[in-house]
C-alpha cells in the first residue's frame, strides 16, 4: 500500500527523491511508478512487477527520427467534406525530453474538427501505429456502422489498413474522438481530438469574446520516461492509470493571454484514463453553460468544474482582474499511509490578463444567466418519467482473483472508508500491479443477475428507458464510475432520489460510490451500442455490455 501524492509531489519525486525501486527497475522492462519517499512498500511486494509484459510504443525506435508532433489545428468541414487522418508514431517533447507517442495527423490533440449541426463528414483513418486501432466518435448519435467499436460495429483497423467513417452530427455541442481499442494505451499516448458541432442558431450560446478548447489529461512518467503499459492487458485495473504530469491540450505549460473583462468560452473535455479533475479558476467568474450534448435548462454560476473522464462542459469565464490567473486542479486527496486527507492543488495553466479592456457590451452581457426556454420545453416531456419506477436496475461491483495475498489483505483492511470519488491514486503500487486478468469490474442487471456481456437488452427506436444504477459501496473495493452510453443521449433524472431540476443531455455521467443515479435514455438511434464505464482500465476489466435498438420500420441491414 502506498500513499497518495499530488502530481507535483510525485513529479518532484520523479526528479530526484523518489522511492527506491526495490528491484523492479528493469525487470521485464518494468519500472515502478514513482512514489513518495516516505512510503513503504508492502513487505510481500518488494520487487514485484505486473504479471504481464511491458509495452512502450515504437520500441527500439529512435524518437529523434520521428516527426515532431505539432499542436492541434482546426479543420472546418462542411457537409460531405472528407478529412484524411493518419494514426502515427510521433515525437513528443515534454519538459525538455523526447518521447515516442501517438498522434492523429501528427498533432496533439488531434485536429479540432468543426462541423455544422446536421452535416455528415467523411473521415478516412489510416493506421500507422504498432497496434490495431479504431475511432469512436464519443457522444455523437452516429450511424451505428461508424461507432468505432471493434467486435461490435467494425473489425479493428489493423496496422497499415484504413477505415472510412461517415460522421453524421445531429446534435450541437463539443464531442470528441478516440480509439476504442486498448484506449488505456492509445488514448493515453495522445490519440484524442475534439469535434465541435456548431448550431445554426447564432444565439445558441450567449455572447463571448472568443472560444478556447481545454483538453485535460495526465501522463504517468518517471525520470526515465513513460511508465510502460501492460502488453497483454492493462495494468492499473483497480483504480485506473493516474498520471503524475498534468496536460492541457497536450502541453505541460498551457498559457492564455486575455484582456481585462474578456469573456472566454472554454470547451472542456477530460480525456484522462481515470482522473476526475476539479477545475478552479480563482479570481475569475465562471458561468456553466452546457455539457455533453447541449445546453442546460438554466445557466448557473459555479466555483469549480468537477469533470470525470469523457465528460464535457462548456463554461464562460470573465477575467476581470489584471495579472496572472491560474487554472487549477484542486481536490481533497487521500494519504492512506497517514490516514489523512490533504489539499492537492496542481496548476494546469496560466491566463495572463493584460492590455486594453475587452468590448464592454459582451462583458456586461456576461452578467445575465440565460434561461433556455427551448431546452426546458423539450425536457418537460421527459421529466414526467421521474415519477415512474425504473425499467431496469443495474448495480456495480468488482471481483478480484489471483492478486498477491498482501494486496488482498491490504484491500480488505482498507474498507472502513471508501470515498465517493477517488481523486488521486491513493495506492499506486497495488494499483499498478493489478491487471485486467485479475480484476473484473461489473455491471450487473439486478433483475436477471446477468453481468457485463451477459446482459441482453433490446429496445425499439422511440423507447424512453429509465435505468437506475447503484454503485454498491459494499463491493470488495468500490470506486466511482463515469457511465457512458454510445449512440444515444440520456438525462440524469435524479441522484439518490433527489430530482435534477436543471436537465442537460449527457452521454457520460459520474456515479460516485454509494450513490444511485436514475438516467433516462432516449433510444433514438438504431444499432448495437455499448454501455460502459469510461475509466479505460475498468472497461478493459469487463465493465461493459452492449444493447440493441431496433428500428421496427426499417429493419437492420444484412
Amino acid at each position: 500500500m502506498h500513499i497518495a501524492l499530488t502530481a507535483t509531489l510525485i513529479l518532484a519525486a520523479a526528479q530526484g527523491g523518489q522511492h527506491d525501486m526495490q528491484g523492479a527497475d528493469g525487470k521485464g522492462g518494468w519500472r515502478m511508478p514513482p512514489m513518495a519517499p516516505e512510503m513503504p512498500t508492502l513487505p510481500g511486494l518488494v520487487g514485484a512487477v505486473p504479471p504481464v509484459g511491458a509495452f512502450l510504443p515504437g520500441e527500439g525506435l529512435d524518437a529523434a527520427k520521428l516527426p515532431e508532433a505539432r499542436p492541434s489545428s482546426m479543420v472546418s468541414m462542411r457537409n460531405g467534406d472528407t478529412l484524411d487522418i493518419s494514426v502515427s508514431l510521433v515525437r513528443r517533447e515534454l519538459r525538455g525530453k523526447s518521447y515516442v507517442m501517438y498522434g492523429y495527423n501528427g498533432q496533439y490533440p488531434g485536429p479540432l474538427i468543426r462541423a455544422p449541426q446536421g452535416a455528415t463528414v467523411v473521415v478516412r483513418v489510416t493506421n500507422e501505429i504498432d497496434l490495431p486501432t479504431s475511432v469512436h466518435w464519443h457522444g455523437v448519435r452516429i450511424d451505428n456502422r461508424f461507432d468505432g467499436v471493434p467486435g461490435v460495429t467494425q473489425a479493428p483497423i489493423e496496422v497499415g489498413e484504413s477505415f472510412t467513417y461517415e460522421v453524421r452530427v445531429p446534435d450541437a455541442g463539443m464531442f470528441w474522438y478516440h480509439p476504442h481499442s486498448r484506449e488505456d494505451v492509445q488514448q493515453d499516448l495522445g490519440l484524442y481530438g475534439n469535434l465541435l458541432v456548431t448550431s445554426p442558431d447564432e444565439d445558441y450560446y450567449g455572447p463571448a469574446h472568443r472560444e478556447e478548447v481545454l483538453v485535460l489529461d495526465d501522463l504517468l512518467m518517471d525520470e526515465n520516461g513513460l511508465i510502460p503499459w501492460g502488453r497483454e492487458s492493462p495494468t492499473h485495473a483497480l483504480m485506473g492509470r493516474f498520471g503524475n504530469v498534468m496536460l492541457v491540450n497536450g502541453q505541460t505549460d498551457y498559457q492564455l493571454d486575455a484582456r481585462p473583462g474578456e469573456v472566454v468560452r472554454f470547451y472542456i473535455t477530460n480525456v484522462a484514463n481515470t482522473r476526475t479533475f476539479n477545475l478552479v479558476i480563482p479570481g475569475a467568474r465562471v458561468k456553466l453553460v452546457a455539457s455533453d450534448i447541449g445546453r442546460f435548462e438554466r445557466e448557473s454560476w459555479v466555483e469549480s468544474v468537477p469533470i470525470a473522464p469523457a465528460e464535457r462542459y462548456v463554461i464562460d469565464v470573465r477575467f476581470d482582474e489584471l495579472g496572472e490567473v491560474p487554472l487549477l486542479n484542486s481536490v481533497q486527496a487521500i494519504n492512506h499511509f497517514r490516514g489523512t486527507f490533504y489539499s492537492s492543488v496542481d496548476t494546469l495553466g496560466i491566463a495572463r490578463v493584460a492590455g486594453e479592456p475587452a468590448d464592454a457590451q459582451v462583458s456586461e452581457a456576461f452578467e445575465v444567466l440565460r434561461q433556455n426556454a427551448a431546452v426546458s420545453t423539450e425536457m418537460e416531456a421527459f421529466r414526467r418519467h421521474l415519477g415512474r419506477a425504473p425499467d431496469f436496475e443495474l448495480e456495480t461491483s468488482v471481483r478480484v482473483t489471483g492478486l498477491p495475498l498482501d494486496i488482498m489483505r491490504a484491500m480488505e483492511v482498507d474498507t472502513l472508508y471508501v470515498p465517493p470519488v477517488e481523486w488521486n491514486d491513493a495506492m499506486p503500487m497495488m494499483n499498478w500491479l493489478s491487471t485486467a486478468d485479475q480484476v473484473t469490474w461489473i455491471l450487473r442487471d439486478r433483475a436477471s443477475g446477468a453481468e457485463n456481456g451477459e446482459i441482453d437488452w433490446s429496445f425499439a427506436v422511440g423507447d424512453v428507458v429509465k435505468i437506475r444504477i447503484f454503485n454498491d459501496p459494499d463491493a470488495f473495493h468500490p470506486m466511482h464510475h463515469p457511465i457512458h452510453v454510445h449512440g444515444q443521449r440520456y438525462l440524469v433524472l435524479a441522484r439518490d432520489g433527489v430530482p435534477n431540476e436543471n436537465l442537460v443531455w449527457k452521454d457520460t455521467a459520474l456515479l460516485p460510490v454509494g450513490s444511485t443515479m436514475d438516467i433516462l435514455v432516449e433510444m433514438s438511434n438504431p444499432g448495437e451500442w455499448m454501455f460502459h464505464c469510461h475509466i479505460a482500465e475498468h472497461l478493459h476489466a469487463g465493465m461493459m455490455f452492449h444493447f440493441s435498438v431496433v428500428d421496427e420500420e426499417s429493419p437492420p441491414r444484412g
Binding site: P170, V280, P390, A460, D474, G497, S515, N525
Partner: protein, 179 residues
C-alpha cells in the same frame, strides 16, 4: 434536417410507455446513501436521552455536475438528522450541529423539530454531527453551550492510518518520518 427528423422520431415515444418494456409502476425513490450515514450515539449525560439513537443522512447538495464539490475539493452535503428515543427536554431545546474533527469550526444545523429531525448543510471533508441541549433556540449561535446529547462521526472520519499496524506492522515507522 436530420436533426428535425430525429426529434420527430424520438418524439413519437415520449409520452407513451415503451411497448417492449415493463409497465410503469409508481416510483419509490432510492434512500440517501446508507454507506455515508452517520450513526449518532448517546453520551448518556442528559436525562431522558440515555437510550437515544439517531442517524445523520448525507446527500450531495444539488449541483449541475451531479457531484457537489467546492473549490477546495471538499464535498458539499445536505445533512438530515433523525433522532428517536429521546424525551422532550424539561428545559431548553435540542440543537444539531456539525463540527470539524479538530472542533475548530462549528456550524449550527437547526434545532430538532417535534419529530426529532434537523437539517442543514456541511462542506467539510471530515466532520462530526453533534446534538446538544441548549438553554435557548438561538439561530445565530456560533457554537454550543449545553451538554452533548449525541454525537457521531462522518464515514470519512474512519479513514485510518496504516502506519505501524496491519500490513505495515513490521515496518519501522520512524524511518518513514513518523514518530
Amino acid at each position: 434536417m436530420i436533426w428535425i427528423h430525429l426529434l420527430g422520431v424520438a418524439g413519437a415515444g415520449f409520452c407513451s410507455a415503451p411497448a417492449a418494456l415493463p409497465a410503469a409502476l409508481p416510483a419509490l425513490p432510492p434512500p440517501p446513501p446508507e454507506y455515508y450515514e452517520v450513526a449518532l450515539v448517546s453520551t448518556g449525560r442528559v436525562p431522558g436521552t440515555r437510550q437515544a439513537e439517531g442517524t445523520g443522512s448525507v446527500t450531495f447538495l444539488p449541483s449541475p455536475f451531479g457531484l457537489a464539490v467546492g473549490p477546495d475539493g471538499s464535498y458539499r452535503y445536505e445533512v438530515r438528522v433523525q433522532t428517536e428515543r429521546m424525551l422532550p427536554p424539561e428545559r431548553g431545546v435540542y440543537v444539531a450541529w456539525v463540527t470539524t474533527p479538530d472542533l475548530d469550526r462549528v456550524r449550527r444545523l437547526s434545532s430538532l423539530d417535534a419529530a426529532g429531525m434537523a437539517h442543514g448543510t456541511v462542506e467539510w471533508i471530515q466532520f462530526l454531527i453533534v446534538v446538544t441541549l441548549e438553554p435557548s433556540m438561538n439561530p445565530e449561535a456560533q457554537g454550543w453551550e449545553g451538554p452533548v446529547v449525541m454525537r457521531g462521526v462522518s464515514r470519512s472520519g474512519m479513514l485510518h492510518t496504516m502506519a505501524g499496524h496491519g500490513p505495515f506492522q513490521v515496518e519501522n515507522c520512524g524511518s518513514f518520518g513518523f514518530n
